[in-house]
Symmetry: C2
Subunit: 102 residues, 2 copies
């Protein structure tokens, strides 16, 4: 007897995504990338994080397919491959804001 309308595997996959988004520095990198491609050096100066740390988070995001690297000369540019994710983040932010006011 179960109240499940969700497959547990689906839930696990969903939670895997949320875990990626749950680290503030990593999420900050994602949010600030927006739909523009930026070299790592830009991300470093924008976030104020160490080079190593940015690289560390970019690897995680890259391996999950949430950002895509693109080499241009000696620089590596990173971009979001999908607008939809940003829109989901935006909606969630809106929800938080409404909830706070309520």
């Amino acid at each position: 007897m179960s109240i499940n309308t969700y497959e547990y595997d689906e839930v696990k996959e969903l939670s895997r995504l949320f875990k990626l988004l749950a680290e503030p520095n990593r999420l900050n990198i994602l949010c600030n990338l927006g739909m523009e491609c930026r070299p790592v050096s830009d991300i470093i100066s924008a976030t104020g994080l160490s080079q190593t740390n940015v690289s560390f988070h970019l690897r995680t995001l890259r391996e999950a397919g949430l950002v895509r690297p693109e080499r241009r000369g000696s620089f590596v540019y990173y971009c979001l491959p999908d607008v939809k994710l940003l829109s989901l983040l935006e909606q969630t932010k809106e929800w938080i804001k409404l909830r706070r006011e309520a």
Copy 2:
């Protein structure tokens, strides 16, 4: 010089929410609650988790305002106070599915 269109505080708040959703058992509890109010005992049997563990996760969700407890006799029913969250979860699941197929 920053590429930020997001306030960092906003990002941190967003990440706090994602952290709550990132634990698979906790997310499972949330998803399966749906918009119905259910006693803890139901959640325990539906998830197969220990009583202590369910209580532990419910506390986290409760303190974050993601679920609301309601005592009815010796039972405590839990409900989601807001449909919008479920809809966000649903959209995110859809996004994952589309992405997997692409």
